[in-house]
């Protein structure tokens, strides 16, 4: 496979995560980007590829201007919401493996505290939600919690997935967030707290929903030979793939509402990496909602479809479990920066820098992206 082990994540950066930041999305994005570039041990002007995630802050030209980049060779916008960061890893690996670039910056920053930017309003400016905006928003189907809820409801009714299964995901993420000094949530929760949290969009309760948060994250991806000269041990992208559900922009028109794009991506990524789910030691799984974790675990082949609930229920996702998941706290309990924080955390784990949340001896892990209405991406990474 042409892309296997051709690129490495050489630098990671994050801002503090919070609600009510006084900084703009672009300031947060620049701060995280500089941290990632510094972590790689290179100069900002060494960047020759830029992939800004979403169109919520800086564009490639802004990085040329601010970083003094003299020869930008690649830029892209990947408009798939929370799937975009992992999709960007695929794009970066491709242009690094083919010699187009040496160092690609993947960068994101957001400030959603402003009133006009609340969840129920902002997606309706995004072209990928145009069907929702025209045909569903006027009926009161306005925000992701409502839009995804029928997928979860159907999974519950068809497969017997329970509130406790959802709660197991929420509790595992929260336990991990408590080990992370840069997590918005710092209070322990129990299954009972989850079950008693207020209903938002049945079956999603408050503790099934990811956090509205301000912050920035970034990674530098470098060609494998170039990364050998960077500051940290290499973390290789061994397998990476992207998949979209049918039909991608309308859950309503999907033959099977519970199908996701990652079901197409996963076999490709595992084949490229030459490993199976049983080999994975740590997982960072996009958790916009608790249900999304359960469904992706099924689609990646950790269990059969419909078995995801029981799979997560017995502590398997906790540190010390068979599949420690979202060791940073995830979008549910650390912060929601479209999942770029999941990539940062996987690299940290594979470097052995996971701190109190370190999975002992982690050498192989995965990170997923889940965007918009079910677009998916999966990257399998290993320590060099």
């Amino acid at each position: 496979m042409a892309l296997r082990d051709q690129a490495c994540v050489s630098g990671i950066g994050e801002t503090a995560y919070m609600r009510g930041s006084s900084k703009t999305a672009f300031e947060l994005q620049i701060e995280a980007s500089l941290a990632a570039i510094n972590d790689a041990g290179i100069h900002p002007s060494d960047i020759d590829g830029v992939i800004p995630i979403g169109i919520v802050s800086g564009i490639a030209e802004d990085f040329v201007d601010n970083f003094g980049i003299r020869d930008l060779r690649y830029s892209a916008l990947i408009p798939h919401g929370g799937a975009s960061p992992v999709m960007a890893l695929q794009a970066a690996a491709t242009v690094l493996a083919t010699g187009v670039c040496r160092h690609v910056l993947i960068t994101f920053g957001r400030n959603v505290s402003a009133g006009s930017n609340k969840a129920g309003a902002r997606i309706h400016n995004m072209p990928q939600f145009h069907y929702v905006t025209e045909f569903e928003h006027p009926l009161g189907n306005s925000a992701p919690a409502q839009i995804y809820a029928p997928m979860a409801r159907r999974h519950m009714e068809l497969y017997g997935t329970t509130v406790e299964h959802f709660g197991a995901v929420a509790v595992a993420c929260r336990e991990h967030a408590l080990l992370n000094g840069n997590a918005i949530m710092s209070k322990p929760i129990t299954l009972e707290d989850h079950r008693n949290s207020r209903m938002i969009a049945d079956p999603f309760r408050l503790l099934d929903c990811s956090l509205e948060s301000d912050g920035g994250a970034a990674v530098v991806v470098s060609a494998a030979d170039v990364a050998a000269d960077c500051r940290h041990r290499r973390v290789f992208i061994s397998g990476v793939a992207v998949g979209h559900p049918d039909s991608p922009a309308s859950i309503t028109q999907r033959p099977d509402m519970t199908s996701l794009g990652i079901g197409k991506a996963a076999p490709r990524a595992f084949t490229m990496a030459g490993v199976t789910p049983a080999d994975i030691q740590v997982a960072e799984i996009y958790d916009c909602f608790t249900y999304a974790v359960i469904r992706q675990i099924e689609d990646m082949g950790f269990c059969e479809k419909g078995e995801g609930g029981p799979f997560v229920a017995d502590g398997r996702l906790r540190l010390g479990g068979a599949l420690p998941t979202n060791t940073h706290g995830g979008l549910l309990s650390q912060a929601h920066v479209w999942g770029l924080n999941h990539i940062v955390e996987l690299v940290r784990q594979l470097r052995g820098d996971g701190g109190r949340a370190q999975v002992a001896g982690a050498e192989l892990g995965l990170v997923t992206g889940y965007g918009d209405l079910g677009d998916g991406a999966l990257a399998i990474m290993r320590r060099g």
């Binding site: 069907y131 006027p138 969009a201």
Partner: protein
């Protein structure tokens, strides 16, 4: 002073205008490919079966079965605040395509037979609702 709270309006386009006009005329219309007859929803430019852009519109019977549902307990748009909690239902129409609508009746369940109601929301807007078809 009373505050006027309005719901979001659909951004109609030339492509979708017949659908919205259909609702105002009391008819639930689906796009039908003008070349091969394949039905589709929501309105789009091409038939994904034969790639023709020829379109005719066909009236749906309004009958179908529940595919899934949710109950909104939080209003993400202020225009729905006074209607909480309300139920949204996704329906497999008898003609094949799936539709989303508001719900009138006891808690739905997957597979329940339903029929469409077109409800005059205000002077300008007609909303697609569903209710149990016959015995619930």
């Amino acid at each position: 002073m009373t505050e006027t709270v309005t719901k979001p309006e659909p951004p109609e386009s030339a492509l979708s205008a017949p659908y919205w006009q259909g609702l105002r005329d009391g008819r639930l219309l689906l796009q039908a490919c003008g070349a091969c007859g394949t039905l589709r929803h929501y309105p789009r430019l091409l038939c994904s079966a034969c790639f023709s852009d020829a379109v005719s519109w066909r009236q749906a019977s309004g009958h179908g079965h529940v595919h899934s549902w949710t109950v909104a307990h939080h209003a993400f748009h202020v225009g729905f605040r006074d209607e909480l909690p309300y139920t949204l239902v996704t329906v497999d129409l008898a003609e094949g395509p799936r539709a989303l609508g508001r719900w009138r009746g006891a808690t739905p369940r997957i597979g329940l037979a339903v029929k469409a109601i077109l409800r005059q929301a205000d002077a300008a807007a007609v909303e697609l609702w569903f209710e149990p078809d016959g015995e619930a």
